[in-house]
Symmetry: none
Subunit: 451 residues, 2 copies
Amino acid sequence: MSYYQQHRSEFVEGLRAFLRIPSVSTLPEHSSDVRRAAEFVREELRTAGMSFAELIEGKGHPLVYAEWMNAPGKPTILFYGHYDVQPADPLEEWKSPPFEPEIRGQDIFARGSSDDKGQTYIQIKAVEGLLKSTGKLPVNVKFLIEGEEETGGEHIEEYVRTRPPRLKADAAVICDTEMFAPGLPTICIGLRGIVYGELVVEGANHDLHSGVYGGAAPNPIQAIAQILCALKDSNGHISIPGFYDRVIPPDPQEREAWARLPFDETEYTQKEMGAAELVGEPEVPLFERVWARPTLEVHGIRGGFTGEGAKTVIPARAVAKVSTRLVADQRPEEAAQQLKNAVKAACPRGVRAEFRVIHSAAPSLTNPDNRFIHAAAQAMNQVFGKETVFIRSGGSIPIVGVFDQYLGIPSVMMGFGLPDDNLHAPNEKFHLPNFFRGIESVALYLEMLGR
Amino acid sequence: MSYYQQHRSEFVEGLRAFLRIPSVSTLPEHSSDVRRAAEFVREELRTAGMSFAELIEGKGHPLVYAEWMNAPGKPTILFYGHYDVQPADPLEEWKSPPFEPEIRGQDIFARGSSDDKGQTYIQIKAVEGLLKSTGKLPVNVKFLIEGEEETGGEHIEEYVRTRPPRLKADAAVICDTEMFAPGLPTICIGLRGIVYGELVVEGANHDLHSGVYGGAAPNPIQAIAQILCALKDSNGHISIPGFYDRVIPPDPQEREAWARLPFDETEYTQKEMGAAELVGEPEVPLFERVWARPTLEVHGIRGGFTGEGAKTVIPARAVAKVSTRLVADQRPEEAAQQLKNAVKAACPRGVRAEFRVIHSAAPSLTNPDNRFIHAAAQAMNQVFGKETVFIRSGGSIPIVGVFDQYLGIPSVMMGFGLPDDNLHAPNEKFHLPNFFRGIESVALYLEMLGR
């Protein structure tokens, strides 16, 4: 029985302790919790046997850095993960409190269990197992774990942009994605980028009575509605001029591989999403819509009177949170400018409208034909007992683009989440068998790279 | 010197006592104050010399009823007013406390001074003057004063709907509107009705990650935007099928009269509304837009993430408060059904949309060519020394439709408020010259009707 099999209950206990820290990076009232989570990771890395582990301070939440460089001549792997989590609201929809991890069946439920504390912990425990059982690692290993992934904070990007010598590595390994289906080992080779911001619309300088002024007064909520409809048509096509110009369509081989993925559309739609039907560009196949096409979404909106009952007010102001996901080879700055211009062009009379960028990230697309990805596919294949599939993800992991641009290294995205893990939603969970197999897969991967 | 000129200081002292009662009908903690205001009105009506005055109890706050029926063969006038007031917040913006009436210049400042205690008191004092100085009234007079106007309470409507014989009258007189401009006697002959409700749109049964599902998942906020744009075009035209079918355009005479009203559009737009420009149906003149055309407004909207920063969620649900103002000869029930149907028809794929009515009121339009309005115009003309103008109001006074429907009587809206009286806002005021002239106008009106 291996170290990994012997220590499963300790791993789960450690993960529970990690999950109990409400490290919600976007809420200022949790900033001391976020720091506590950083310190927790640093201690775990020290305990695991890394040569040293420390916090890197800067603007925003600290980075955790650790290294073990005692395998001369062997490649160097840079592990990336994040210790911060999404806000937990709406709280009333959680079956167990978001920061009191509870195991039900084979799943552990807590905010961050899958995204990304559980998967970051996989990396740490994989390294710990090798160091504890053999006293060394088969390759050189560095960790860079951040606390601003969910806020789009710029600390890590600013740090990596300076190309610090200590970050020199041959490949990054990121465990922050998901398996295509339960039991199906999966490597993600493409990510969408994002431009996220606020659409602010202002009309009169104070709220107006809709009886007295309705018919003459500008209404910022109606204006936001008009702008949103001008940005995206009813078929899900983005109507922003030039927006699709740089979009690279998937090649025929990739399209065929996607078509072969085991997939039940009814299950996906009704059970996973809980929706009546799928929407979006009718002529584009589903995986291409969510992985390889830009989209535009409203995430939230507020304005005027929203209490119980009725108030006949024409509000002075309305705000919507809007993002667009980008695909290779779109550029965030260009896309943001296109979006800003389109908002201005669509702004109705009588109001002022402005799109203010909160954060952005470049899309990424990795050629799977390299040794770091080959080895990952093999290791996962061996642990899970199934052929590894290559997919893309519709989400954004900004660091992949940053590593590519500033460190010149590919990112290997070995994901152990599941599609129904409820990321960013109530009742987030992590499947414990994936947690254990993930640890073994990462360990085997390092061994393979060291041969 | 008439009774009215002799008793001005008593009138002001009585009004002060009325205004000191914080009869905020919407706040349960003020319910005993609301009752105290009802009792105050009843005592004032008794003191004025009405044959009897009493409270009518029911669900909600009491009605005050009084009558004097000793003018056989003469018409019967039903005075309507309300003794309840809006909440006073934000308190810190009041220059003098809202329930400690203060006279500054020619204005008396207090919550309810204009809306509607001051104007209700005008009616009582007019009747008092005639009874005290001549021992009788030139016509028969009834009072029905309510305490739920500011809450949309249904006590009065339920009462009138039973057509109690004691409410039989030839016309209602309502003093709850405003003069078009200072010194310009004004009668309001039309009010818009309203259908107010919630537009609820639901997509997936839980919030979804926009990275993972963006491009395939229905978005209720985008759907609300699409529905709002389908209901009203960018020129302010309501696109609901059949919505304008019953709309009666103002006749050329009325349009000409409106065009002659003293009006400074720049002042109205920039100072009164605080807006950059007026919007709405470009081919329709301003007063027609706000008085004689139906409009559709969003009063509030909420959905998804609206906190600080960013959350990449596709929300499960979004809700907007939406109303449409109606004009003669639209019917609230029919308009509500048209709106519901249009929402269903505009509902995009993947979401469910529903419009739920919260309250509604019929529009009203009185033919000014009747003796009750003629006499009112003449009386005001004589007291104010200027030709009386006829306007409409874009707001809704539901009781007018109720009187029309259940009692079959026209409502004469003699308003003595001013456009800058700060109704529903801090520093509400009533212009004392209008208070005195209002009393004399109503008294003269009753005399004219009795001739």
